[in-house]
Symmetry: C2
């Protein structure tokens, strides 16, 4: 029922090859026919069938966006939504379309081979935070162009990341600079890259100032509010006077634990989080935090991928976006 090249061709009295040329901006068309064909195309609002074009050219102008669902359950946090927005915005601007896969574990294998072999996408953006993600492995072994959002610990692949490590380092430095002696940390899971990197940043800061590392001042959380609460409870007996919490969600839990213990923030314990969630200006007291440019992450990754598709590079590219410390009253000034 939809129109085809042939219809346009008949309507404008040329062959379908010519119409195709007009659509694809081929030079070998006289201005006169070009105008005539264009007029008809826009009048009837003709859109070439992308499946057919994909078959013929091997390119579809569709990008895959893969978000492993083990992570995506953390969907109450606006990280992924904003990331998706960034990707989508770039796709709109670049005339691409985005195919979304929230890869639930039980479908993961099917998902991967679908993506790789169904010929529907020109390239894939993967937001994986796991140290060892099978999806990344499969992609790596395939010929499919792809880019990771979040660095990869071992494989030399295209990626784009925020500087989690430096962020953790700066947060910790800021607490130390304020004069705190016992700066603790609630880390994220150490099998997740941001969890690991932010913790390394904490260690970097200690090393920078030759401060002795105290295992008692480190507890691992799971990036959730409840995890932060539990972790902070474990930390309290060791009397930290400041704590770098590796995510705002966990920081909310930590704040709850500290207040339940009857302690004051920031007078008894100063606090810095990570992510700068919208709610962080509404906690009591407002939470200082490391802000990451999430929308930009998605946008730039998309631009990058498109560039990779168009000019297959031999050298994998690595990009790191900077973070920013947002100071609110939870850390004292």
């Amino acid at each position: 029922m939809p129109l085809t090249l042939e219809d346009i061709a008949k309507e404008s009295g040329v062959s379908r090859s010519t119409v195709s040329r007009v659509i694809n901006g081929d030079d070998n068309v006289s201005q006169a026919t070009r105008d005539r064909v264009m007029e008809i195309i826009s009048r009837v609002n003709f859109q070439p069938n992308l499946a057919a074009r994909g078959l013929a050219t091997g390119r579809t102008n569709v990008l895959g966006l893969v978000i492993p669902a083990g992570v995506s359950t953390i969907f109450t946090d606006p990280y992924f939504p904003i990331l998706i927005q960034g990707v989508s915005a770039a796709c709109n601007a670049l005339q691409y379309t985005v195919m979304l896969w929230l890869a639930e574990p039980e479908y993961e294998r099917r998902t991967i081979s679908q993506i790789l072999h169904n010929g529907l996408v020109d390239g894939v953006i993967v937001s994986s935070m796991l140290m060892d993600d099978p999806i990344v492995q499969s992609l790596y072994k395939s010929k499919m162009p792809f880019i990771l959002i979040g660095r990869h610990p071992t494989l030399d692949v295209n990626y784009l990341d925020v500087d989690n490590r430096l962020g953790g380092r700066e947060a910790t430095h800021h607490l130390l600079r304020l004069g705190h002696k016992k700066v603790a940390t609630v880390t994220g899971p150490q099998n997740m890259i941001p969890g690991y990197d932010r913790y390394q940043g904490y260690l970097d800061a200690l090393r920078d100032r030759s401060i002795k590392f105290q295992p008692d001042l480190v507890t691992e959380g799971d990036f959730s509010e409840m995890g932060g609460y539990t972790a902070m409870k474990k930390l309290l007996p060791h009397l930290p006077d400041a704590v770098f919490v590796a995510s705002d969600a966990m920081a909310y839990g930590a704040i709850r634990a500290i207040r339940e213990a009857g302690l004051d923030i920031p007078d008894d314990i100063a606090l810095i989080g990570y992510d700068d969630l919208p709610g962080s200006s509404r906690t009591i007291p407002p939470l200082s935090s490391i802000r990451q440019p999430v929308h930009r992450l998605g946008y730039v990754a998309t631009e990058s991928l498109v560039d990779i598709i168009r000019h297959p590079a031999t050298q994998p590219r690595h990009m790191i976006l900077p973070t920013e410390l947002v100071i609110r009253s939870s850390c004292g000034d």
Copy 2:
């Protein structure tokens, strides 16, 4: 480079038609050849090219999910993320793939005709809340199967919605039942369907109890925290003793305004919100709210759409999912 039917055919010594039959579960294949072909298919992990299949059959097993971006800026609220998860989960289960369009206004027209004519999707799920959305109009005029998430005020189309009106009614009733005399409301924008419906629910409740409507007790917000704050400020001079706020985000703002005025919640003013955001159990005091089954909304809409695609119905179907009042201390008990 990827494998084709022909490759599998050669490998297993049959024609490509037979391979195709095996893949599509056609009965007319001997068990012997079926087994042999199957074995090879799974051994080399063959996946049929979906673009080609789409060309041949006219169906792609791809669904479009369209979220107008005027709305999607409200992406800090987990409504859309969870909705997307629901859609995605259903797609995984039903062997469909989801194509995502965050329709930014500047690309909206292009978006629509892309979706309608590029032959890449079998049907479309639209989450529109605007009273008069051009996307819906275009879809309505086309032959593309689609379903709305959120009812449509005038067009008789397939839709799935939560009972916003009943939700507003129940929230208001609850406040009245507690003995409050001056129950105010902060509404959403009246050109958005949920804004309108929840307000109608408020009016229903007043009518149910033959309570005189007082225009002073109604202020319109924009579903944002700031909007709720502003609206509540306007309401305070009229001394309400309870208020139904049409979204939790606005309720956060309202709480801020009430506390700034030195009033107590719920003793001076009782409060019920709508949406039951994750943060609502952490406001002070914890916010009572109407909970809607958002994930389910996405899941059921997808199932429905697939059913519509497979069995084109003559009668548009309308489904309404129930909401649930979650009582916390902000309304007194």
